[in-house]
C-alpha cells in the first residue's frame, strides 16, 4: 500500500452519501494515521449535527459494555476504536496461550461473536456502527472480520481505506538508550542484597591467605561485577588492579576487557579504547577467536562513540570476518549477528538507512535461526527481540511506520515473555521498558498520542522501579532521565505545556546529577545539553523568550565543548549547529537581528560542512536548507535584499530536491511550501517581478492545500494556507 496518496475526500464521498439515509450500517475503517479519525469525526459532526455520537475503545471494553452502549442509542454513530484488538488471537512466541492470554482471547471472541449474533437486534435501529482498524501491519483484517462476523459483514457494510501522507515528526525524537546494562544475579536482585553479597566476598578476600591464588581468582570477578552494578566504579577499578597483580597471563585479556568496560561506564572513552586494544592483543595471542571477534566489536563501538564511523565499520567488518571462521558454532554465529547489528548502527549514524536495514535484516535472520535451533537459550531470544527493535528503528527512519510498529510489537512481545519468565532479570526488565518506549514513539509518530502516552507510562513505571531498586546505578538513572524527556515530549505534543515543563525539569535534574558525578561521561554531558534544549523550547513555546535564551545558551555551551573534544563526531557537530540555530531564532524573536545573524552564520558554516561531508544524510540536507531560509529571512529584515534572495534560492533548491526524493514526507513538503511562500513574499514586496511572485504563491498554495486538508488540526498548515490564499487574492 502506498502512503503517498491522500485519499480521504475520494474515499469518504460514498460514505457520506450512504449515511444521508438513516439506516443500520456496518462500516469498517482502515486508516494509516490517527488524525484521519479526528478528521472523520469532525466531518460527521458537521454534516449530521443532530445525530448522537458514542465512542468506545474495543481494547478496553467487554461485550456487555459494548452491547449496553449500543442499546442505549436509538440512532446515530457508534464508534469502536482499536477494533483490531478484537480480531487478535494472542499467543506467545512458542505459539502457546497463557492463562491471561486465554482470558483476553475469550473476551475478544465474545465481542465479535456477540456483535455477529445480535445483528438483527442492532439492525432495527438506524445506527452506523463504525469499527476502526489501523494499518499497522500486513494482516488482512477484512478477511478476519468476514470470518469472525460473517452475518454482520453480509448486512449493510462498507470498507473504507483512509490514507494520508505521513507526518515526519509529530514528536521530536532526540536520543535513545542504545545499550542495556547487563546485570548479574549475583547476591540477589536488590541493592541491599547485592551489598550484603559484596561484603561477604570482601570478607572472604580479607581472610584468604595470599598464597591461595586460585580461590582469590574466583572472588575478584564477582567483586568487580558487584561493585560495578552498585555504581562503585572507582573501587571496581582498584579491585581490577589487585586482580591483575595475581592473575595468570592467560586471564589478563579478560581483565583489560573489564577495565575497558569500566572506563566506558564512567565516560572515559579514550581509556576504554586503550584497554580494549590491549585485550584484543591478548586474545589474538591466545588464539581465542571468539573473544577476538567480540573485542573487535567493542573497539568498533568505542570508535562509534568517538564519532569515527569509518573506523568503527572497519572493526565491525573484521569482527564479522573472524566470527565467520566457525559459522557452525552458535556462539560465533551470534557474534556474526552482533557484528551486523553494529554495522547497521553505524550506517544509521551515517544516514544510510537502506544499508543499515540490510545489516539489521542479516542480524535478525541469524538471531531467529539461533533461537529456533535452541528455544531454551533466553539470550538468543533477547537478541532476536533486539533485532526487531533495530528493524523497527530503520523502518521508522525510512518513514514506514506500519512496518516499524509491527517490529516494535514483536520486540515488545518477546521482551514481555522474557520479563514474565525472569522478573528478577533486570536486563530483560530494562529491555521491556525500552520496548514500551519504542511503541510510544511509533504511536506518537502514528498520530495516536493517547496510545503513545499509555506506552510511555508503562516505560516510566518500569524504569522508575529499576532506578529505585538501584539508585546508584547510573544506567538506570540515565534511562529514567530519558523516560522523563519522552514524557515531556508527549505532553508537549498534546499541548499540555506546563506538564511537559515539569517533566523536562525532572529530566534536567537527573542529567545534571549524572554529569556532575561523571563529568567525563560524554553521554551524560550530551544528555544534559539536550535537557537544556528541551527546556529552551518549552519556555519559548510558553512565551518566556528570556528564559529560553538562557537554556539555549547552556545548550550551546555544552555542545561547543563536546564538539571541541570530539571534532569528528558528526552528531555533536550537528547538535552544535542546531544550538546556534535555536539561539538565532530566539534573538530574532527578541528583535536582536544582528545577534541572530551571527548565530545563523555559525549554524550555516557547520551545516554546510556536515552536508558536504555526508551528502546522503537527509537530516543534514534538511538542516542546511533551514539554515539558508533563516538567513534569508534575517537579511530581508536587515534590508539586504540581494543577499536574502541568494539564500532563499539556495534553500529552495535543497528543499525541492528533498521533497522530490521523499514526496511522502510532510515536513519536507511543508518546508518546500514555506520556501515558495518566502520567495513569493519577497518578489511581491520587493516589487521585483509580480508574475514570478504569483508563480511562487501558486506552487506554495498547491502544497499547502494538500497539507491543510490532510492535517486539519495542524495550525501551522492552516495559517500558512490562509496567508498564501490571501496573498494570491491580493495579487
Amino acid at each position: 500500500m502506498s502512503d503517498s496518496i491522500d485519499n480521504y475526500t475520494e474515499e469518504t464521498a460514498p460514505l457520506f452519501k450512504l449515511l444521508s439515509t438513516p439506516a443500520f450500517r456496518f462500516i469498517i475503517v482502515c486508516y494509516n494515521h490517527y488524525d484521519l479519525l479526528r478528521r472523520l469525526e469532525q466531518d460527521l459532526r458537521q454534516r449530521f449535527p443532530e445525530r448522537p455520537f458514542l465512542k468506545l475503545d474495543t481494547a478496553k471494553s467487554t461485550y456487555p459494555q459494548i452491547s449496553e452502549a449500543l442499546q442505549s442509542m436509538d440512532s446515530g454513530f457508534f464508534w469502536l476504536e482499536n477494533f483490531d484488538d478484537a480480531l487478535k488471537e494472542e499467543r506467545n512466541s512458542l505459539g502457546k496461550e497463557t492463562e491471561e492470554m486465554a482470558r483476553r482471547n475469550e473476551n475478544r471472541r465474545h465481542i465479535t461473536a456477540g456483535l455477529n449474533l445480535r445483528r438483527d437486534r442492532w439492525a432495527k435501529s438506524p445506527i452506523a456502527l463504525f469499527v476502526f482498524v489501523p494499518m499497522t501491519s500486513n494482516e488482512l483484517f477484512a478477511r478476519s472480520i468476514m470470518e469472525k462476523m460473517p452475518d454482520l459483514w453480509s448486512f449493510r457494510s462498507l470498507i473504507l481505506e483512509l490514507r494520508q501522507a505521513r507526518s515526519a515528526a509529530t514528536v521530536a525524537q532526540t536520543d535513545r538508550r542504545e545499550t542495556t546494562p547487563s546485570f548479574s544475579t549475583l547476591g540477589g536482585s536488590t541493592e541491599a542484597e547485592k551489598t550484603n553479597e559484596l561484603h561477604r566476598l570482601l570478607g572472604q578476600l580479607e581472610q584468604t591467605p595470599l598464597g591461595e591464588t586460585d580461590y582469590l581468582l574466583t572472588l575478584y570477578p564477582q567483586i568487580v561485577e558487584l561493585q560495578t552494578e552498585l555504581g562503585h566504579y572507582n573501587q571496581a577499578l582498584s579491585t581490577l588492579s589487585d586482580w591483575e597483580r595475581i592473575a595468570p597471563e592467560s586471564t589478563l585479556a579478560t581483565i583489560y576487557e573489564k577495565r575497558g568496560e569500566l572506563f566506558n561506564d564512567s565516560g572515559d572513552v579514550a581509556g576504554a579504547l586503550t584497554a580494549f586494544q590491549q585485550a584484543l592483543e591478548g586474545y589474538e595471542q591466545a588464539g581465542d577467536k571468539e573473544n577476538e571477534a567480540w573485542m573487535q566489536i567493542r573497539i568498533g563501538d568505542t570508535y562509534e562513540a568517538l564519532g569515527n564511523l569509518d573506523k568503527a565499520i572497519k572493526h565491525f567488518t573484521t569482527a564479522l570476518r573472524v566470527s565467520e571462521t566457525e559459522s557452525d558454532n552458535p556462539v560465533f554465529r551470534n557474534l556474526q549477528g552482533l557484528a551486523n547489528e553494529r554495522m547497521g548502527d553505524s550506517w544509521m549514524a551515517l544516514g544510510q538507512v537502506q544499508n543499515a536495514l540490510s545489516a539489521y535484516e542479516a542480524y535478525q535472520k541469524i538471531e531467529q535461526e539461533l533461537w529456533e535451533s535452541n528455544l531454551s537459550e533466553s539470550q538468543w531470544k533477547n537478541n532476536l527481540a533486539g533485532s526487531y527493535e533495530k528493524l523497527g528503528t530503520a523502518h521508522s527512519d525510512l518513514g514506514d511506520l506500519q512496518q516499524a510498529l509491527g517490529f516494535y510489537e514483536q520486540y515488545n512481545r518477546l521482551e514481555k515473555e522474557l520479563h514474565e519468565a525472569f522478573p528478577q532479570n533486570v536486563e530483560f526488565k530494562n529491555s521491556l521498558a525500552i520496548s514500551y518506549e519504542k511503541l510510544g514513539e511509533a504511536h506518537a509518530a502514528f498520530g495516536d498520542l493517547q496510545q503513545a502516552l499509555g506506552f510511555y507510562e508503562k516505560d516510566i513505571e518500569l524504569t522508575k522501579e529499576l532506578h529505585e531498586a538501584f539508585p546508584q546505578n547510573v544506567e538506570f538513572k540515565n534511562s529514567l532521565a530519558i523516560s522523563y524527556e519522552k514524557f515531556g515530549d508527549i505532553h508537549a505534543a498534546l499541548g499540555d505545556l506546563q506538564q511537559a515543563l515539569g517533566f523536562y525539569e525532572q529530566h534536567k535534574q537527573l542529567t545534571k546529577e549524572l554529569h556532575e558525578a561523571f563529568p567525563q561521561n560524554v553521554e551524560f554531558k550530551n544528555g544534559l545539553a539536550i535537557s537544556y534544549s528541551k527546556l529552551g523550547k518549552i519556555h519559548a513555546a510558553l512565551g518566556n523568550q528570556q528564559q529560553a535564551l538562557g537554556f539555549y545558551e547552556q545548550y550551546n555551551q555544552l555542545e561547543k565543548e563536546l564538539h571541541e573534544t570530539f571534532p569528528q563526531n558528526v552528531y555533536f557537530k550537528n547538535n552544535l549547529a542546531i544550538s546556534y540555530s535555536f539561539l538565532g531564532n530566539t534573538y530574532d524573536d527578541l528583535g536582536d537581528l544582528q545577534q541572530a545573524l551571527e548565530f545563523y552564520e555559525k549554524d550555516l558554516q557547520l551545516s554546510k560542512d556536515l552536508y558536504n561531508g555526508h551528502p546522503q544524510n537527509v537530516e543534514f540536507h534538511n538542516n542546511l536548507a533551514t539554515s539558508y531560509t533563516n538567513l534569508g529571512e534575517t537579511h530581508v529584515a536587515l534590508g539586504d535584499q540581494q543577499q536574502a534572495l541568494e539564500y532563499y534560492k539556495k534553500g529552495l533548491e535543497l528543499s525541492k530536491s528533498l521533497h522530490e526524493t521523499f514526496p511522502q514526507n510532510v515536513e519536507f513538503k511543508n518546508n518546500l511550501a514555506v520556501s515558495y511562500l518566502q520567495l513569493g513574499v519577497f518578489n511581491r514586496d520587493q516589487k521585483i517581478n509580480k508574475e514570478k511572485a504569483k508563480e511562487y504563491f501558486e506552487q506554495c498554495f498547491k502544497l499547502l492545500k494538500e497539507l491543510s486538508k490532510a492535517y486539519p488540526s495542524y495550525v501551522e498548515f492552516q495559517k500558512n494556507f490562509h496567508e498564501v490564499k490571501e496573498a494570491l487574492d491580493s495579487l
Binding site: 548479574s184 591461595e212 580461590y215 558454532n329 537459550e377 533466553s378
Partner: protein, 451 residues
C-alpha cells in the same frame, strides 16, 4: 557399582559363563577380573594421561605448586567397550590421595536420563556428586558460602516455578531449609530428579540455568576453589578432580554433539580439573576440543598390525582377560580361546560378546565351549551385525580393506564416524589405523560386497 560386581565371579561351569561375560558392567581396578591393557594399547600410554593431569606417573603426586590456576580439562576419546571406564577406575584409585586428587566420579548412564541430557544436567549432577562426597568426608563448609550458593539456587528454582506455574504445570518442590551440605544436596538431587522427569520441566530448568550461566559458573568456581582449600586443610587431597564417564552412552549423536560442541564455551567456564570420556565420533571435532584443552585417544588394544601380523603380547594379555573370567578347563582347546580373542578385534567388550554367543551354542552336558560352538556363535553374531550395514557402507569397508592390504593409513572423515559408532570398524593407535570388526568379515554380506 560394587553391588553389581558382588556376584561377578570366575565361571567354573558353563552355567556360570553367562554371568561372567556380562559386558554391561564396568570392572573396577581392584576386581579379580581387572586386566591392565595399558602397555598394549598402541599409541596410548597411561603416563601421558598422568602427565596431562600434572601427576607424576611414578609417585602419582599432583604437582600443584607448578600448576596453580592451570586446571586440566581432559577428553578421553575412545570407542564403546574399549575399556575406558576400567582404565579410569585404575587411574583414579592411584591418584586419589592427600598428595593427589579428590576424585569424584559421575557415571552419566546411571545418574542421568541418557535419552534427554544436556550439559546443564551434567553440571547439576556433578554438584550433587560433589556434595555426596563432601558429606561422606564430613568436610565443613563456611556458612556464608553455603548460604550465598543456596540463595542463588533458591532464586533460580523460584524462576523455574514461575514459568511452570504460568503454563499450569507441576512446580519443582524444593524446600531449601537452613543452608548446609545436606540441604544443598537435597536441592541438587531434587533438581536432578526434575531434569529426569517431564521434558517440559527439564527444559525450563535448563533455560533458567543457561540464562544465568555466567553467574552460575562464578558461584560454582568459588565453591570449588573453596573446597580445594578445605581439602588441603583437611589433608584429604590437593584438588578436586571430576571424572565424567559415559558421554558415549548418551542416546543420540545429536545429543552428544550438543553437549560437547555447542556447550564447549560453557564447559570452559567451569574451572575444575575434569576428565570427560569422549564419544569416538566426536574425534573429528578435535580442532575445537583441543582448544578446550587436552584430548587423548583411547584406542582398542592392537592385536594385529596393519599388515596382518599378530602381536603376541596383546594376545597373551587377552588370554589372561578370558581366563580370569572363564576357567581354561571350560574350553576344548587353547586354539578356541585364541580364535575368540582374534574375533574380538582388540575390544574387551566385543570379545565378551563373542564368548557370550559361543556359550549359547555350547553343549551344556559336555560342559565345554568347543571350536564348533564358537563358530556357530560367530556365524550368528556376524549375520546379526552385518544387517546394520548399508551397501554404501560396504563400499567404505572395501576401501578400508584395500588400504590395509597396501599397508596405507586411512584418514578420518564423517563417513567413518557412524561405522565406528556402530562398532563395524575398529580404530587403533591415533585413529589412522582402522580394521573391520573381524566378526563382520565373517558375514555372508561382507563376503559378497567386499570379498
Amino acid at each position: 557399582m560394587s553391588e553389581d560386581l558382588s556376584n561377578y565371579r570366575k565361571a567354573m561351569t558353563l552355567a556360570e559363563v553367562d554371568n561372567a561375560v556380562r559386558f554391561d558392567v564396568p570392572i573396577t581396578a581392584d576386581h579379580p577380573f581387572f586386566t591392565d591393557f595399558s602397555d598394549v594399547r598402541g599409541d596410548f600410554e597411561d603416563k601421558v594421561l598422568y602427565k596431562s593431569l600434572n601427576v607424576n606417573p611414578r609417585t602419582f603426586k599432583y604437582n600443584r605448586t607448578q600448576n596453580m590456576s592451570n586446571k586440566t580439562l581432559l577428553f578421553l576419546a575412545g570407542m564403546r567397550g574399549s575399556g575406558k571406564t576400567s582404565e579410569l577406575d585404575k587411574i583414579t584409585r592411584k591418584i586419589h590421595h592427600p598428595e593427589g586428587f579428590f576424585c569424584v566420579t559421575c557415571n552419566l548412564d546411571t545418574g542421568l536420563d541418557s535419552n534427554d541430557m544436556e550439559y546443564m544436567d551434567i553440571l547439576i549432577f556433578q554438584l550433587e556428586r560433589l556434595f555426596e562426597e563432601l558429606k561422606k568426608q564430613k568436610i565443613k563448609i563456611d556458612q556464608g558460602i553455603l548460604s550465598s550458593l543456596q540463595n542463588w539456587f533458591a532464586e533460580r528454582v523460584e524462576e523455574v516455578n514461575r514459568v511452570i506455574k504460568q503454563e499450569g504445570g507441576f512446580e519443582v518442590e524444593i524446600k531449601a531449609g537452613t543452608p548446609s551440605i545436606l540441604s544443598f544436596l537435597g536441592i541438587a538431587a531434587k533438581l536432578k530428579a526434575n531434569l529426569q522427569g517431564t521434558k517440559e520441566n527439564a527444559e525450563k530448568i535448563r533455560t533458567v540455568f543457561k540464562t544465568n550461566f555466567t553467574d552460575f559458573s562464578k558461584k560454582i568456581n568459588e565453591f570449588i576453589e573453596y573446597c580445594n582449600m578445605r581439602l588441603r586443610d583437611e589433608k584429604i587431597a590437593q584438588e578436586l578432580l571430576f571424572v565424567v564417564d559415559g558421554l558415549e552412552k548418551v542416546a543420540t549423536i545429536d545429543i552428544r554433539k550438543k553437549i560437547v560442541i555447542s556447550e564447549s564455551d560453557r564447559i570452559r567456564q567451569i574451572k575444575v580439573n575434569t576428565i570427560f570420556t569422549l564419544p569416538i565420533e566426536l574425534m573429528s571435532e578435535t580442532r575445537r576440543i583441543s582448544q578446550m584443552n587436552t584430548e587423548l585417544p583411547f584406542p582398542f588394544v592392537k592385536i594385529r598390525e596393519r599388515n596382518g601380523a599378530e602381536i603376541p603380547k596383546a594376545i597373551e594379555r587377552f588370554h589372561q582377560f578370558v581366563t580370569k573370567r572363564i576357567d581354561e578347563s571350560l574350553f576344548d582347546s587353547l586354539e578356541t580361546i585364541q580364535k575368540a580373542i582374534r574375533m574380538g578385534g582388540g575390544s574387551p567388550r566385543e570379545l565378551l560378546r563373542v564368548l557370550e554367543y559361543a556359550n549359547l551354542y555350547a553343549d551344556d552336558d559336555a560342559n565345554t565351549i568347543t571350536s564348533a560352538a564358537l563358530d556357530k556363535g560367530l556365524k550368528k553374531l556376524a549375520s546379526h551385525t552385518a544387517q546394520y550395514i548399508t551397501p554404501e557402507e560396504f563400499k567404505k569397508l572395501k576401501e578400508l580393506k584395500e588400504d590395509n592390504d597396501k599397508d596405507l593409513p586411512t584418514g578420518t572423515d564423517d563417513g567413518w564416524q557412524d561405522l565406528l559408532e556402530k562398532l563395524i570398524v575398529f580404530e587403533y593407535n591415533d585413529g589412522t589405523y582402522k580394521r573391520v570388526n573381524p566378526v563382520v568379515e565373517l558375514s555372508e554380506l561382507y563376503q559378497r560386497y567386499v570379498g
